[in-house]
C-alpha cells in the first residue's frame, strides 16, 4: 500500500465485515504539532482482548481459528516507523475504534493519497452503512455524512449516473477545498 488512503480503506473493510451500521472515518492533520492522525470507528460486533491482540500481531499466537490479515500489522509498523502508533479499542457487541498517528513531516511517512476516492468507493460500494467522513487540516474542516443524501434519495440507488456525479463531486470538492486552503498556509 503506497497511500494512507488505501490503508484507511482496508480498515474500513474490517468494520463492514464486523456488520457495522455506522462507520466514522477521520483524517486530521495538525501542521503545528506535526501530527497526522487517522481513525475508523464502527458500531459493529467488536472484539475481545485476545482477538485485538491477534489482529495487531498475528504471529504471536499459534491459534488458527480465525483468519487474520496483514493490513493492521503493516499499518502499525508504518506508523511506528514514523514516531507514531496504532491503537485498537474494542468492546464485544458495541464496536471498534482504530486510531493511527504519524509524525506528519517524517521522511518515511507515506502520502495521504486519494482520500476522496477511498470515501467515494466506500459510500457507493457499501450503502448499507451510514458513512461519516471528517477531514481536517488545522482549522479547515470538511464533513460528509451520507444520511441526508440517503434520506433525500428515499430508496433510489446511488449508482444512478446523475446521482453518482453529484456525490462524487461533493466528496472531491470538499477534500480539495480543505487541501487547497491548507497549502496556502
Amino acid at each position: 500500500m503506497r497511500e494512507l488512503a488505501l490503508h484507511l480503506l482496508d480498515i474500513a473493510e474490517n468494520s463492514i465485515s464486523a456488520r457495522a451500521r455506522r462507520i466514522d472515518l477521520g483524517v486530521e492533520e495538525d501542521t503545528r504539532q506535526d501530527i497526522l492522525r487517522m481513525y475508523v470507528q464502527d458500531d459493529g460486533i467488536g472484539m475481545d482482548e485476545q482477538m485485538v491482540a491477534r489482529v495487531v500481531d498475528p504471529f504471536v499466537t499459534s491459534r488458527t481459528t480465525r483468519k487474520v490479515g496483514l493490513g493492521i500489522p503493516l499499518l502499525k509498523a508504518a506508523a511506528e516507523a514514523c514516531n507514531g502508533s496504532l491503537i485498537i479499542a474494542s468492546t464485544p457487541g458495541k464496536g471498534t475504534r482504530v486510531d493511527v498517528t504519524f509524525q506528519r513531516s517524517h521522511i518515511d511517512r507515506m502520502p495521504l493519497g486519494d482520500i476522496a476516492a477511498t470515501v467515494f468507493s466506500l459510500v457507493i460500494g457499501s450503502p448499507q452503512v451510514n458513512w461519516v467522513f471528517r477531514y481536517r487540516v488545522d482549522s479547515e474542516e470538511f464533513v460528509f455524512d451520507d444520511a441526508l443524501i440517503k434520506a433525500e434519495l428515499n430508496g433510489m440507488p446511488m449508482t444512478e449516473p446523475g446521482i453518482l456525479t453529484f456525490i462524487r463531486q461533493m466528496i472531491y470538492e470538499g477534500v480539495v477545498g480543505v487541501q487547497s486552503i491548507a497549502n496556502k498556509v
Binding site: 488505501l6 480503506l9 473493510e13 465485515s17 467515494f120 464533513v143 443524501i149 433510489m156 444512478e160 446521482i163
Partner: protein, 122 residues
C-alpha cells in the same frame, strides 16, 4: 453538509433517475461486485471500482447495482470482479485493471458477451 440548493439538485436528479428507470425496456437485474480485501486493495481494486463507476457515469447507464465485498479467497487473481446478470450464473473475472474493467462494462454489461480472456473459476 449539502446546502439547501444542493438538496434540491439531488431531488431533481432523483426524479430524472425515476423517469429513466420507468422508460427502461429490459428488466434483468445487473450486479457488479468488486473484491476489496487487503490483497485486492493492494492490487488496485479501488481504481478498478472507480473505473466501473466512471463508465456508468460517462455512458449514463441506469439500474446497475455496484457493490464491494471482502476477501473472496483468490488472492493471486486480485483485483476480482464478479458479474451477475438476471438468473445467469456468476461470472468471475481476475486481474481486473481499470482498462479490463472498462472492457467488461462495454462487452459484457452493455454488449452481453462474457470477456473470456479474463474469466476465472470461482
Amino acid at each position: 453538509m449539502p446546502a439547501v440548493k444542493s438538496l434540491e439538485d439531488l431531488r431533481r436528479l432523483r426524479e430524472e433517475a425515476l423517469e429513466k428507470r420507468k422508460a427502461k425496456t429490459t428488466t434483468s437485474s445487473i450486479q457488479v461486485i468488486v473484491g476489496m480485501g487487503t490483497v485486492g486493495i493492494a492490487a488496485g481494486a479501488r481504481e478498478t471500482l472507480k473505473a466501473i463507476l466512471e463508465y456508468i457515469e460517462i455512458n449514463k447507464l441506469t439500474d446497475i447495482i455496484v457493490r464491494q465485498t471482502g476477501n473472496l479467497g483468490m488472492d493471486s487473481w486480485e483485483p476480482i470482479v464478479q458479474v451477475i446478470i438476471g438468473e445467469s450464473p456468476v461470472v468471475t473475472y481476475g486481474k481486473v485493471t481499470p482498462d479490463v474493467a472498462r472492457r467488461i462494462m462495454k462487452d459484457h454489461i452493455v454488449g452481453g458477451n462474457i470477456v473470456k480472456e479474463y474469466t476465472i473459476e470461482s
